[in-house]
Symmetry: C2
Subunit: 114 residues, 2 copies
DNA sequence: TTGACATATTCCCATATAGGCATGTATATT
DNA sequence: AATATACATGCCTATATGGGAATATGTCAA
């Protein structure tokens, strides 16, 4: 079996840094594709493809306005990600844990090759 | 260019559902590989490979105990993910936003093919 | 209708995956 | 030393990717 599709869920879609940048950019206001292209410095087809992925997993919403397509982030779709990571929050808030981590990190440097 | 490596960062590593399950499982206590195999119902080599990915991005720590390798989740490495998703939290906490989303979701069903 | 503009789609390709299977390596036991 | 146990690694394959370039689609303007 190969890697899961980027369009299979929010986790996979968001793994791509460029798509996270797009979501950041479209979080505050809806914008046409051209603005994203100018802002991210990517080729227009690339941006359209990224938007296609984001749209399939519901991370962005679109609406046509003349010949412009206005995209914007649908934060609700990021929620599952937030909920999952939140489960681990308590592990790094405890001082004790952090102290232990630091000590173990040293012996780790030898084990973790590359 | 192809897709980024699963070992390039926590975002990519965590995109795989099985790896998230492993992180959930190893969050509370350290466990040998055999336990994970039994718990997830995956082949041992698969588990070892997943653990290899998680280790390379620092999501798990290992320590040898006899012929057992004791793994456990390093929650600290999940933190960047949490921080990023947290930025969007305010968008779903506002009632107004949610109401608007719901209304727009309807017209979306026609646009979002597949 | 013709043309310009905005965006989407298609084709091509090098690259990395995840699983299955076989095998290698390290440690403990006798 | 020989064997069993616990993991790790290597090999193979189908599959999806992201970027680049070219082209198609859709909308407005004259």
């Amino acid at each position: 079996m190969a890697r899961a599709r980027t369009t299979s869920d929010a986790f996979n879609a968001v793994a791509e840094p460029r798509r996270r940048e797009i979501l950041d950019y479209l979080a505050l206001a809806e914008r046409p594709v051209g603005d994203i292209v100018a802002s991210l410095g990517l080729e227009q087809p690339s941006v359209s493809k990224h938007l296609g992925v984001l749209r399939k997993v519901g991370l962005v919403r679109v609406r046509r306005h003349g010949r412009h397509m206005l995209y914007r982030t649908n934060a609700e779709a990021i929620r599952p990600l937030h909920e999952w990571t939140k489960e681990f929050e308590r592990f790094w808030t405890h001082q004790l844990t952090r102290v232990k981590e630091r000590a173990e990190a040293k012996s780790q440097e030898r084990t973790t090759t590359e």
